[in-house]
């Protein structure tokens, strides 16, 4: 009702079914997160109780203080950051190269970049696993990093192909004739001019790695415990509380990242 009043005050009329849709959307999107919070905080929640039967024992953050969870979280963060940086650089270089490439080559290379994006991770993982084992990096963090970078670089190549196709290079041309070398032009003009795009690319690259399960399991062989792998282990072991805590940790960073990108886009006037 208060929303309706606000809308009326601003001169817009909100139909009742608009309010219903908004509430339904809130329940669908926030409901599962709320359940995760309840489950992570509760010591026990047995069927058929509607709500947790016992509150948290000891610290309310007890589930989050589990060493195995923090170790997996640290590894996931490291992998996400490394994947984001490597894939962003690869994607930028590939995207820039493709923008200038002859049309036939560009289409061929774009198709190649699409492949790891559209291929199911499980199928991609089987192929990468064979290569990783032969290269001697199977079951290692480096092997998993390479496996994460492959689809992320594909995504970001396509992303930068789009960004750079619309990018006005006259600024760079002018910088060159004003006396800047190619390297100075890149550092002093291209990088800052695309600041918002770099941020978006880094977030996108990190998110590709962040939720990756199939590739991590296949190439890491279970030896590389990331947050999704730990979540799977907790679920298999029937530890719902730790699984809920891990799931919450998996959910929060992407939500924060989305907020950061939105804010950056607003500040630079770019659309999200």
């Amino acid at each position: 009702m208060s929303m309706q009043r606000d809308a009326m005050a601003s001169g817009r009329v909100v139909a009742p079914w608009h309010v219903f849709l908004l509430v339904a959307l809130g329940v669908v999107s926030l409901g599962p997160v709320l359940l995760l919070v309840l489950r992570a905080a509760a010591a026990s929640w047995l069927y058929p109780d509607l709500l947790p039967s016992r509150g948290a024992t000891g610290s309310t953050l007890g589930a989050f203080a589990t060493p195995i969870l923090w170790s997996a979280l640290t590894r996931s963060v490291l992998l996400a950051v490394a994947t984001a940086v490597v894939a962003t650089l690869l994607g930028f270089v590939a995207g820039r190269g493709l923008v200038r490439a002859p049309r036939g080559l560009r289409e061929l290379a774009t198709g190649a970049a699409f492949l790891p994006v559209v291929a199911p991770p499980i199928a991609l993982g089987v192929g990468i696993q064979v290569l990783a084992i032969r290269a001697g990096v199977g079951g290692s963090l480096v092997g998993v990093l390479i496996a994460h970078v492959i689809p992320a670089a594909g995504y970001l190549t396509l992303y930068f192909l789009g960004v750079l196709s619309a990018y006005d290079r006259s600024m760079e041309d002018e910088a060159r004739t004003l006396g800047a070398t190619a390297w100075q032009t890149f550092l002093r003009v291209t990088v800052p001019a695309l600041r918002a795009r770099w941020l978006e690319a880094l977030v996108l690259g990190a998110l590709v790695s962040w939720g990756q399960l199939a590739l991590t399991l296949l190439v890491g062989g279970g030896a590389v415990q990331t947050l999704p792998v730990a979540l799977l282990s907790f679920t298999r072991a029937g530890d719902d509380r730790l699984a809920a805590a891990a799931a919450l940790l998996l959910t929060i960073p992407p939500a924060l990242a989305f907020g950061v990108v939105q804010r950056g886009a607003r500040r630079t006037g770019a659309s999200a």
Binding site: D168, S170, M171, D173, E174, A175, R176, T177, L178, G179, A180, T181, Q184, R188, V189, P192, A193, R195
Partner: protein, 370 residues
């Protein structure tokens, strides 16, 4: 042309450039002295921008040489040619303030930031934008961005400055103002050689010390504006410049050209030729009757024409007239200026005064069927 003994700032020698997938300009030669402004005038799609980019080192030269300040820079990188290229729309660096945009060329050359800023402020004073120095460059209007772009170009201390249709994106009301400001900024002793391209004849006449007309991939005329506009080198140049009166006739090869307007001196070989004249070369002297009774009213020796329409423009009124007795059977349309006195009205018969020193006879364009 460049005064004898003065080192040219920019020299193109037999330059050919690729335009898309074909070689668009062939064997272009041109010299621009220090402090001189030459306007390269040609229709859109003629390869003017491509030529500028090739001179700046941003596109490849197919053949020929570019000399800047006496040095052959044909194979040099863009940053070491001493040439600054400005796009049609000023390319402000969005992450820098106005003063830092102007200081950019000095900073990339290793001049300390403080020193670069001081010099940038001097240049901003010159373009009257010093009060806006700390603003974001993107917060400026189009005209102000143009002036910042000029100040930034001057900060690079170029030997040659290339301007690619620099005022095209501006509103007509703002254009003249920015143009004057740019001319004032560039008009300093020992300033850069300025090569500007445009397809706007009025702009070329206002800005250029010389106008080089580019047609069909070649420079077909290179002369001061007054000469280019009043004495186009060819019929094609006259048509491109928009010279309204082109009257076909014949040269006898002995110094006389004959057409419907009479006989005129020319130095062409015998054959078809064309008299070209701007509107101000012919004056409708007076109304001597109306179309129905003109045969009775006009003396036999006088050229008379019937007024078809009046064309009112900011610069004055011209008359669209029709010469009935043009010889070929078809009436000959002409555009002339009105003489002193009351303006005639459509249907009036007027006598035409032809100012012989303002008409010019050129060889007929082979493609012309006039």
């Amino acid at each position: 042309m460049i005064p004898p003994g003065e080192a040219p700032g920019l020299v193109l020698h037999d330059v050919s450039v690729r335009f898309g997938t074909r070689v668009g300009l062939v064997g272009v030669s041109l010299a621009v002295g220090r402090g001189e402004r030459v306007v390269l005038l040609g229709p859109s799609g003629e390869g003017k921008t491509t030529l500028l980019r090739a001179i700046a080192g941003l596109d490849e030269l197919v053949a020929g040489h570019v000399r800047v300040g006496g040095r052959d820079v044909s194979r040099d990188l863009p940053e070491s040619r001493g040439v600054v290229y400005l796009h049609q729309r000023p390319s402000m660096f969005p992450h820098l303030s106005v003063v830092d945009n102007v200081g950019f060329p000095m900073e990339v050359r290793g001049i300390p930031r403080l020193q670069a800023r001081e010099r940038a402020m001097v240049l901003l004073e010159r373009v009257q934008l010093a009060p806006l120095a700390t603003r974001s460059a993107l917060a400026l209007s189009g005209g102000q961005q143009h002036r910042v772009a000029i100040a930034r170009a001057l900060a690079a201390d170029p030997v040659a400055l290339l301007l690619d249709e620099p005022f095209n994106a501006l509103d007509p009301a703002l254009r003249a103002d920015v143009r004057d400001s740019v001319v004032e900024s560039l008009g300093v002793a020992g300033g850069p050689s300025v090569l500007m391209v445009t397809h706007d004849v009025d702009e070329a006449a206002a800005l250029g010390d010389r106008i080089a007309v580019l047609l069909g991939g070649r420079i077909v005329q290179d002369a001061p504006p007054a000469v280019t506009l009043s004495r186009p080198a060819t019929h094609a140049v006259a048509r491109f410049l928009g010279v309204p009166n082109c009257v076909a006739g014949t040269s006898d090869g002995r110094g006389t050209f004959t057409c419907a307007l009479g006989q005129f001196a020319c130095d062409l070989p015998a054959g078809r030729a064309m008299l070209v004249a701007r509107a101000d070369a012919m004056r409708a002297a007076s109304a001597i009757g109306v179309a129905d009774d003109r045969n009775d009213a006009s003396p036999a020796s006088q050229i008379t024409a019937t007024v078809e329409a009046l064309q009112h423009r900011v610069g004055g009124t011209t008359l669209r007239v029709r010469l009935e007795n043009a010889g070929s059977g078809d009436p000959l349309p002409l555009t002339v200026v009105a003489g002193i006195g009351a303006l005639p009205t459509p249907g009036d018969v007027v006598s035409l005064d032809i100012l012989r020193d303002r008409v010019h006879v050129v060889a007929a364009d082979p493609a012309s069927h006039v």
